[in-house]
């Protein structure tokens, strides 16, 4: 059976999460089609067509897909799904938003946030904030699956030559409209795609003090993240949050500064390759998952670290 992967994009470029989702599709095996739904998103369709292993790109270009609202996007996918054995999307806020609508409309269960593929109908997914891994088997005729990006290697972005087929839009449901977006602008790499992440917690003390982490992030070309405690305290915006209910990350290097290591934070970063913790409390749980720990005052250690990096 063919797999349909719903592309995450901003009408201009394919998001990296789509490439990880295609990595999961490759493990499931079979022909892979990619749906690009948006407005004036021809460039995205071309990018998807250039991904090796993609057999066909379906392009739905219409005003009602411009903002990727769940109601219209789900209606489109539901109309296509009967021709597919699997429908996959990234387990980002994009995929999490519309995919359960697709599953419910098809009267099938959804397998959320898979971190491994065991067979075409059997998947591994973390539960209880990653404190347990469940192996689940879907008995439904169409498997609706969201994919945790950190669980799958991204497929290469170029080298393929898939055909692009324009498809008709589904009727506009008119149920919701976008009022506006306030997206955080940053020169830094995106959290979920960064090789290195520097994250701050409640121990930072204030939003102002997060500036202390900037030179460190600059030196390492790192993304900046935060614990829920720091976000809840209003130090930094919500989209910095790493954890069970925030972003799940697995960079090569994760530097946790002034983060105690609550279960829900560890759930978001414990698959990082190398973890460094800087905390004044030597009993802090973060040290149990850290490869390297420094017990000390972050306000001294961080500037020293910046100097040592030369």
């Amino acid at each position: 059976m063919t797999i349909l992967v719903v592309a995450e994009h901003d009408n201009a470029a394919l998001k990296p999460s789509t490439l990880n989702t295609l990595g999961a599709a490759k493990q499931i095996g079979g022909d892979v089609h990619v749906l690009v739904a948006g407005q004036r998103c021809e460039a995205v369709a071309q990018a998807a067509a250039a991904v090796p292993g993609v057999g066909k790109v379906l392009l739905a270009d219409a005003a009602q897909y411009k903002d990727q609202l769940a109601e219209n996007l789900a209606a489109l996918v539901v109309g296509l799904a009967k021709d597919y054995g699997h429908v996959l999307a990234p387990a980002t806020t994009f995929g999490k938003n519309f995919m359960p609508r697709v599953a419910a409309a098809l009267d099938v269960g959804q397998v959320s946030d898979i971190s491994a593929v065991k067979s075409p109908d059997t998947f591994v997914r973390p539960i209880y904030a990653g404190n347990a891994l469940a192996t689940v088997q879907s008995k439904d005729p169409i498997k609706v699956v969201t994919v945790r990006s950190t669980g799958f290697e991204a497929v290469p972005a170029t080298g393929g030559t898939a055909t692009i087929a324009t498809i008709a839009a589904a009727a506009d449901t008119g149920l919701s409209t976008l009022v506006g977006r306030e997206l955080t602008k940053s020169e830094r790499p995106e959290l979920t795609a960064a090789r290195v992440i520097v994250s701050g917690g409640r121990g930072m003390g204030s939003g102002e003090n997060f500036k202390l982490l900037e030179p460190l992030a600059d030196k390492l070309n790192a993304a900046m993240g935060a614990s829920r405690a720091a976000v809840d305290a209003g130090f930094v915006p919500n989209d910095w949050q790493v954890g069970q209910t925030g972003k799940i990350v697995a960079p090569e290097l994760y530097i946790a500064v002034g983060i105690s290591g609550a279960i829900q934070h560890l759930a978001g970063m414990k698959d990082s390759r190398v973890i460094v913790a800087i905390n004044k409390d030597e009993e802090a749980p973060i040290f149990q998952v850290a490869d390297y720990g420094i017990v000390g005052d972050l306000f001294k250690v961080v500037p020293e670290l910046v100097r040592s990096l030369g």
């Binding site: 609508r101 419910a104 539960i127 009022v179 919500n238 030597e282």
Partner: protein, 249 residues
């Protein structure tokens, strides 16, 4: 307007769960249970809408075993007017819960359903969206701000890149994110009052819903443990280790 607030009984957020040695699930015997934290936020938001004169009645609903009555009593103590338990000992997956809630919505005709974006036990993040789809209603998930106005709602949503505001028609389903509000504490007088509030019990069969699971859990296991690391005395040593030992910079 009438509000429906679904609440789930889950393992308390502060409990570190243990995987059962036979690999069939996690240990739930003698473990502290509580209302799913995101659902508490949903109850709080409903109460604020009632206090603002927008909501006229708040109905809490839970699906699961008899013990979910405790969770519903908590919702009543937080201020919900009455409660409905769809009682079953069967394993309930999100699609089944969404179908049960759809049946309740058909009986109660709420203008708005407010519920948690995800339960902290199975971490599925599905039920609200599924309910909205089954009802053919709009949805606003991961809400951090809700404004009800002129037959619709403006909801600010937490998305990966920042914030997004959508305008939805009512009736609708809103799912709550952490920063929507800070739930109030339950007070003793309100716990006493809650005992007298009506709590109706229904069975899934009476609602005509087939709750058979769609996913079979084959195995539950502990995630691989990280090897414990080392403490280093200073930043200079750390940089050396990162360069030469971990080879990550």
């Amino acid at each position: 307007m009438k509000l429906l607030v679904p609440v789930k009984r889950v393992v308390d957020a502060n409990v570190k769960v243990r995987v059962k040695s036979d690999g069939t699930g996690v240990e739930l015997a003698n473990v502290k249970m509580a209302m799913n934290p995101f659902d508490e936020i949903a109850v709080e938001e409903a109460m604020r809408l009632k206090e603002a004169g927008i909501a006229t009645e708040v109905v809490a609903v839970s699906c699961g075993p008899q013990a979910c009555q405790e969770t519903l009593r908590t919702a009543l103590a937080l201020g919900a007017d009455r409660a409905i338990l769809v009682e079953t000992d069967a394993e309930l997956q999100p699609l089944a819960v969404a179908k049960l809630l759809k049946a309740i919505a058909a009986k109660e005709s709420p203008q708005l359903v407010v519920m948690g974006k995800q339960a902290i036990d199975d971490d599925n993040n599905q039920t609200g969206q599924m309910l909205a789809a089954l009802l053919g209603w709009p949805q606003a998930t991961f809400a951090s701000k809700v404004k009800i106005e002129g037959g619709g709602a403006q909801v600010t949503r937490e998305v990966d890149g920042g914030l997004e505001t959508v305008s939805i028609r009512l009736p609708a389903v809103i799912t709550t994110d952490l920063r929507l509000n800070e739930p109030r504490y339950v007070t003793l007088p309100n716990i006493m009052k809650a005992k007298k509030k009506p709590l109706e019990t229904l069975k899934p069969e009476a609602l005509g819903v087939d709750v058979a699971p769609r996913l079979a859990t084959l195995r539950v296991e502990e995630p691989p443990k990280r090897k414990s690391g080392v403490k280093v005395p200073d930043a200079k040593t750390l940089v050396e280790k990162l360069k030469n030992e971990a080879k990550v910079i």
